[in-house]
Each structure stands twice: as C-alpha cells, then as structure tokens.
C-alpha cells in the first residue's frame, strides 16, 4: 500500500493521497454493500452529473490557488447561459441555427470573462478581499438575472443542443468530454505556463512575488477572467442539460465547489493544489451520492454525508501532518 501511495505521489504530488484513498474506500464500501453499484448504470449517471459541478469547481480552483475565492461562480454561469439563451431566442428560438448557437457561445464566454475581469481588477487594484468582491458580484448578478428573467425560466432551444447535455460519442457522454478537455486545459495551465506558476506563487506570498518581478495585478486579473470564462462553459452545459436557464440553477453547487477543492488537497490559504486530485475528489463526491441513492438513502442525506466526509478528511489530514512533523521536526 505504501509503495502504491508513493507512486501516486510521484505522479500527482502529495495532494493525491487523500482523494485517492477516499476513492478506493467509496468503491470498496458501496461495491460490497450494493451489487448494482459497480455497474455501467452507476458510472453513466456519475458521468452525466459530474461535469456541471466539475466545471464550476475548476472555476473556483484558480482563485483559491491565489489565496482568493470566487463566490459568483454559479450566477456567472447562469448569466452566461442567459446570454446564450437570448441569442438563440432572438434568432428564432427552437428554429435557431448553428451560427446563432456559435455566436451565443462566444458571447456567453465573453460575458463570463467580463464578470471575472471586473472582479479581478477590483481585487488587484484595491486589494479588497476577494470574498467581499466576489460576494458583491454574486449579489449583483443574481439581482440582474432575476430582474431580466423576472425569476422565471427561459427555454425553447433548438433540438441540436440536446446532445451537448445528454448525448454520447463512442459511449462517452458529451458533457464529460467537455469537462475532461477543461480539466486537461487547467492542468496544462497550472503545470506548464508562466501564468500557472505565478498563480501558485501569488497564493503563497503576493508581495514576495511582486518583488521577484512578476506583474501580480495582471496575474490576478487573468485568473479571475479565466474563472469567469470557465463559469460560462458550465453555464452552456447546464443550459443544454436542463434545456432551460434560470438564474438560480445550480445555486447549491456553490459551496460544494469549495468543498471539492479542499477535498482535492487544495490549500485553503492558496499556493498549493493540483487539478487531477480535485478531479478525483469530484468523482468521489458523485460516487458517494450515487451509491447512497442506490441503497435507497434520502437525497438530502447524501449532502449531509458530503459534509461529514469533508470533516473526516480535515481530521485525517491534521493527524497525518502531526505524524509527519514528529519525524521531521528538528531543533535549532
């Protein structure tokens, strides 16, 4: 087992141990309890549910790595979704063509990114706390969305959008493909680009990063911009899955995205965290809720179990660090 976890560390870094073990535990427990758990049906439902939460979590991840937070992820996603919906409606609703859809997607991503730019600029230049800034943005977007939609649903989209939410290519759900592409893009961004490198550095010490000659304001603005753009992609997928947009869609995902980041070993104060362990953490959360569903537990209980899981992970992590320190600690 230690050999295995050492190898995992080699591949994914030390953050992988927690979610990796949780994954094994969840599969073992539910696999033993319910014979239907290890079936194509379970993995199919996980594969369709994972992307919405997953894309929003990716949007949350970048700001957390800089030591910030983006509380506006869900409303940014829905405002972006609304942008697409209106472009489709203005071009014939159910009869809208692929061109309208493409234009709508581009505009949706631009709207999402714009929300991020504004937050990034305010955070970078006023040094206001990201929680306050993104909370303000969240309230603004919710109010704006409710005003524009009068709190209702916008629906009536062309049929060809359906597969984006429900279809499969070669047996793999389309939303999952989109999500995996985004995971890989984020992984590449964080491990192989200057922007990713500087994101981690800023998360650990903004001033020291600035003294090192990094344009920290630019990095922060870009991080929130990318976060907003990722929200927009989540909004587009949500539109396709629900075949409608409502400003409150996925509201309960907000704090779960934060939870998924921490479960994936992301340091809540910034500076450390990787995409792949966060991905595994998301899979664990979905498997857990599917498994509980399968053994007939109430849906709300699944949410409660997610909370318990997180507390458990925190305690285990604390215990593990204590254990490690007692070996590493040296007197000076």
């Amino acid at each position: 087992m230690t050999g295995f976890s050492e190898r995992l560390k080699g591949w994914f870094g030390p953050e992988m141990a927690g979610p990796g073990l949780a994954l094994v535990a969840v599969i073992l427990v539910f696999g033993l309890v319910s014979p239907q758990f290890l079936s194509a049906a379970t993995f199919g439902s996980v594969a369709f549910q994972l992307p919405e939460l997953g894309l929003l979590t990716l949007a949350m991840l970048l700001p957390i790595l800089t030591g910030g937070l983006n509380l506006a992820v869900t409303f940014t996603a829905n405002i972006a979704g609304l942008t697409l919906a209106w472009v489709l409606q203005a071009n014939g609703g159910a009869d809208a063509g692929a061109g309208a859809f493409a234009l709508g997607c581009v505009l949706a991503v631009m709207v999402g990114a714009a929300s991020g730019v504004v937050m990034g600029l305010v955070i970078a230049f006023t040094r206001a706390h990201p929680i306050l800034v993104s909370l303000s943005m969240m309230i603004f977007l919710r109010g704006l969305g409710e005003f524009l939609t009068r709190g209702g649903d916008v629906s009536g989209f062309p049929a060809f959008i359906g597969p984006l939410g429900h279809g499969s290519i070669a047996g793999i759900p389309v939303p999952l493909i989109v999500f995996i592409i985004c995971v890989l893009a984020w992984h590449l961004l964080l491990t192989r680009t200057k922007l990713g490198f500087n994101t981690y550095m800023i998360g650990s010490n903004l001033e020291a990063t600035r003294y090192s000659g990094i344009n920290t304001r630019k990095v922060i603005v870009l991080v929130y911009t990318l976060s907003g753009a990722m929200c927009a992609i989540a909004g587009i997928i949500m539109l396709a899955r629900f075949n409608s947009v409502r400003i409150g869609h996925g509201e309960s995902y907000l704090l779960i995205t934060v939870l998924a980041c921490f479960l994936g070993g992301v340091n809540p104060f910034g500076g450390f965290g990787r995409v792949i362990p966060v991905f595994v953490a998301l899979v664990v959360l979905q498997l857990l809720s599917s498994g509980l569903n399968l053994i007939g537990a109430n849906q709300h209980l699944a949410t409660a179990v997610w909370g318990l899981l997180l507390v458990g992970v925190m305690v285990l992590r604390f215990a593990a660090s204590k254990f490690k320190i007692s070996f590493v600690r040296k007197g000076t």
Binding site: L188, T191, R192, T193, K194, G196, F197, Y200, M201, S204, N205, E207, A208, T209, R210, Y211, S212, G213, I214, N215, G271, F272, S326, F327, V328, R329, K330, G331, T332
Partner: protein, 504 residues
C-alpha cells in the same frame, strides 16, 4: 526576590541542567549537554544555527521533554522535565525572535494580557492593564503611549514591549533569542543597557545572539554549543570575537580588506541628484564594472528606500539614473530587472523568498523565460538550471522540490542570490545579505560576492554592520538622514574611523 537577596552573587546556580539528550526522528539534537545560569548574571548561549540552542531553551521552558536521565535544577527544586506552566509560574520567561506579540492590540494589552487573563471577574479591566503596562515600561526607563496599537511602533520598541511583558510575569530568568537581529546599533546599545539594568535588579538573562561584539560586551560567561554538544563554558573577560567564532564553527577565520581600485573600469550605474522627499535627498553615486560599493548607515537612513528606487519599486521625485550610459526610468521593478538591475531584499522571510514554495520555484521565479521550451515551462530545463546554480554557489539542499523554508539562513540566501543571478543582471543590490545568516556562513556569502565582482558584475552592498562593508566593499559610502555624508576607501582608512562616524 527574597531568595535572590540571600543567594545573590553567590556561586550557587539559579538553573543547572545535566545530561540533557534530545532526539528528533533519529537525529541527535542535543548530546549530554549541561548548562548552568547564576542568579542575576548575563549569560550568552552561542553557536551556529542548528547547534541546539533553541532546543535547549525549549527544554528549559517545557516545550520539549528531554530524554530520560535528564536533571533540571531550578531555584532549589529538581525536575526531570519542565512544563510550560511550571516554567512560567516559576519565573522563566522567553522573548522569542519573532516576539509573539499582537500588532493590532494596544501596547497595554500586549504587556498585561497574561496577568489579567483568568482572573475573577472575567472582565477586562483596562485601567489595571494600563497601570501594569506603564509600571513595567517605567522599570525599563521607557515611555511609550500604552493606548496606541503596537503596529504603530518600530521593531525596536516592540522588542521593549516584549521585554516589559516578560517582566510583568515576575521573571527570575529571561531568555532572549536573537534580540538584536533587527535593531540598529543605537537601538542595540539601548537594549544592552536594559539588559544590564535587569541583571542589576537580580534577573538572570540568557542572551542568544549571532553578533559577537555585543555578546562580548554584555555577558559575564559564554556557553558554546556545536552540533548539539557542549564545547565549553568560558568567562567573557579575555575572550575575542575570532576565538568565539573558532569555538562555534571549529574553523578559523580572519578578515582582510578586499578593496581594490576599479577606476579603469567602465561605469555601470550613475546616479545624480536622486531624491524622494522624507526618505533620501540629493544622492549621487557611481558603480563601475566589477566594483562593490558599500553603503552603510543606521536603519532609517534611507538606504533601503534608495535601493528600492534603483530597483524601480519606488519612483524618484527628482534626479537621474543612468545605466551603462543610457538614462533609465523604471515604472516598476519589471523594467529594472529587464534593464539588468537585481535587488536582494533585506527581508528574506517575507519579501525575498516565497517561504512555503520549493527551492527550485524560488530560484526560477524571476527568470521563467529561460525555462520555456516550445511555449510551455519545461521541468527538465528548470531542473538543469537549478542544479547548475546550486553547484555554482555551493548550496546544500535535499531535493529541489523541498520548501525553501527547510534550508538554513545561509543556504536560503545563496538561493536568493542565484535567483537574481539567473536574470543576468549588470547591477546586483544586496540589502543586508547576512541578516539571519550564521557567522560561519557569512564568509561563504561574501566569497560568492567577491567572485561575482571578479566576473564584472557591479554590486551595491548595503549593511548596517560597518565591518561587513569595510572588509567586502571597494568603497564605502556613509548614509545618514537620507544623505550621503561620507565616502571612504577601506585601504586608507581604519575601520574605527568609519564606525566612529556611523555610530556617533
């Protein structure tokens, strides 16, 4: 205090430790160490980083429990180990290097909170706190506004607040861990006076310091540790700095003036009439290729502000900066780095290096362009670049991926220097490069500086320790109150003359 009156000045120790062993994960941090402190004496605990000084203090104050067989005799009682509560109750106080104060709280709260805590009724009596604080400061002969938040005061005053807090607890034995590390000479002198006052009042003070001159000035006895073992206990009378260094490191050092004339070399940096109101005024200087220009002066003389202006972090109000004959205007430090200026911050912990991040990442952060391959950062290039610098500068590390905070001060500073050298600078500004670096490792840092100068790099060396600039720079400028008030050639002026001018 009554007991002190009976035993005061006698040879019976206040604290006496025997057979102290301590092991951390297989590493022996202390080996059969014994240590004693007499009532009211000033005792110095000397040794390089990692020699076991802090571990020993933590055993005496109950933070760590020594291996079985240890005996701790303190003030008439014998313990096999201390607990933090016993140590505090019995009057053992520590002033850690980081002071452990609350910057947002008032001076009075910082000094008196421990005594006010836990009393009945559980209400905060601000009047009492203020009185306790004022009395404690009065004992030290200091006046501070006890209602101001501590953050309004400079580090030197905070130090005094920490001492005042220790005194409130009726201390008999006070440990001071590197108390002068961030103080200027005059502030240090003041602190040493306070320590003498404590000693005269019967409080024993154990002083831990890298600065050997003050160790010799203040202590009556010196205990030297090396690699967790006791080297010996020596009377301060008749001791010299070089002898202590030898005992601490087991090696011999002797310093020689390294200054040379570089007048035949082209000018790299020329500064004319540079001013920033309230910080520095009308600064003119030149640095040539291969030249090391020393700038010394007390803290607050404007040295760091001048350096940060040359590095583009601050903008001058007047004056001109010319780099290799071209006038330059830096709107940020990014411009300065591009133009070939590098600045090693005096504050390595919070500005110079990103402590939680890895050695490798800290080294490459300012020269990421060099590890890009095909548009993306290359781990392979990073590894090679880092390995090259680590070999060049003789840095001792475990893994490149280890956090930089796991390294000693000297090795951290080498990585910080490498980080700037990787940007191919023409001018390297070193601001207090030996702060928090061991005596033994300091010489290594200056050897690197000398080698860099030989390769043609222009260097500005800033330090408030006059001997450092005297022995390692080609010319020495003295800054005071934002102006350059003196210029010296170490080859023709004795050290004492510059020290006299600076510390006057």
């Amino acid at each position: 205090m009554q007991q002190l009156a009976i035993t005061g000045g006698s040879e019976k120790p206040l604290l006496s430790l025997h057979d102290i062993n301590m092991t951390f994960g297989g590493v022996k941090a202390l080996k059969n160490v014994s240590f004693d402190v007499r009532p009211g004496e000033v005792h110095c605990l000397a040794g390089e980083n990692g020699c076991g000084k802090s571990t020993l203090i933590k055993i005496i104050t109950g933070v760590y429990r020594p291996a079985d067989g240890a005996s701790i005799e303190y003030d008439g009682e014998t313990y096999s180990h201390m607990s933090p509560v016993t140590a505090q109750d019995r009057g053992i106080q520590v002033i850690w290097q980081d002071l452990a104060l609350f910057p947002e709280m008032s001076v009075a709260e910082n000094i008196a909170f421990q005594t006010v805590l836990g009393r009945w009724p559980k209400l905060v009596d601000y009047g009492r706190m203020r009185k306790i604080a004022t009395d404690a400061l009065k004992r030290l002969g200091i006046t501070l506004d006890v209602d101001l938040p501590l953050k309004e005061y400079a580090i030197a005053q905070r130090q005094i607040v920490a001492i005042a807090r220790a005194l409130v607890g009726e201390a008999k034995l006070v440990f001071m861990d590197e108390p002068t590390a961030s103080l200027t000479q005059s502030e240090t002198d003041h602190l040493l006076d306070i320590v003498r006052g404590l000693s005269a009042a019967g409080v024993a003070v154990v002083f831990v310091s890298h600065r050997l001159a003050e160790v010799l000035e203040i202590s009556s006895r010196i205990t030297v540790l090396r690699d967790g073992a006791l080297v010996g206990v020596y009377p301060a009378a008749g001791m010299t700095q070089s002898r202590i260094t030898e005992l601490m490191t087991g090696k011999t050092f002797d310093q020689q003036v390294r200054a040379k004339s570089r007048d035949d070399q082209p000018v790299v940096l020329e500064v004319k009439g540079l001013s920033r109101p309230g910080q520095f005024d009308d600064i003119s200087l030149t640095v040539r290729r291969g030249e090391t220009l020393g700038i010394t002066g007390l803290l607050g003389a404007g040295r760091t502000e001048l350096a940060q202006t040359l590095f583009g972090m601050l903008q001058p109000a007047a004056g001109a900066i010319t780099l290799e004959g071209k006038p330059v205007h830096f709107s940020s430090n990014r411009d300065a780095i591009k133009a070939g200026v590098a600045y090693l911050s005096e504050d390595r912990l919070s500005l110079g290096l990103i402590q939680p991040q890895s050695i490798a990442d800290n080294l490459v952060i300012s020269s990421l362009g060099k590890i890009v391959s095909g548009g993306f950062l290359s781990d392979e290039r990073k590894r090679k670049l880092v390995a090259g610098w680590i070999a060049d500068l003789g840095v001792k590390i475990g893994q490149q991926g280890d956090a930089i905070s796991t390294l000693s001060g000297g090795n951290q500073q080498r990585i910080a220097i490498a980080k700037w050298l990787a940007t191919d600078p023409k001018l390297l500004i070193l601001d207090a490069p030996t702060v928090g670096v061991d005596v033994g490792a300091r010489a290594g840092i200056f050897d690197i500086v000398a080698k860099l100068a030989e390769t043609g790099l222009a260097i500005i060396l800033i330090s408030d320790e006059v001997p450092e600039v005297y022995f390692n720079a080609d010319r020495v400028l003295h800054m005071a109150q934002g102006r350059i008030v003196g210029s010296y050639d170490p080859r023709s002026v004795p050290l004492s003359e510059i020290e006299g001018a600076v510390y006057a």
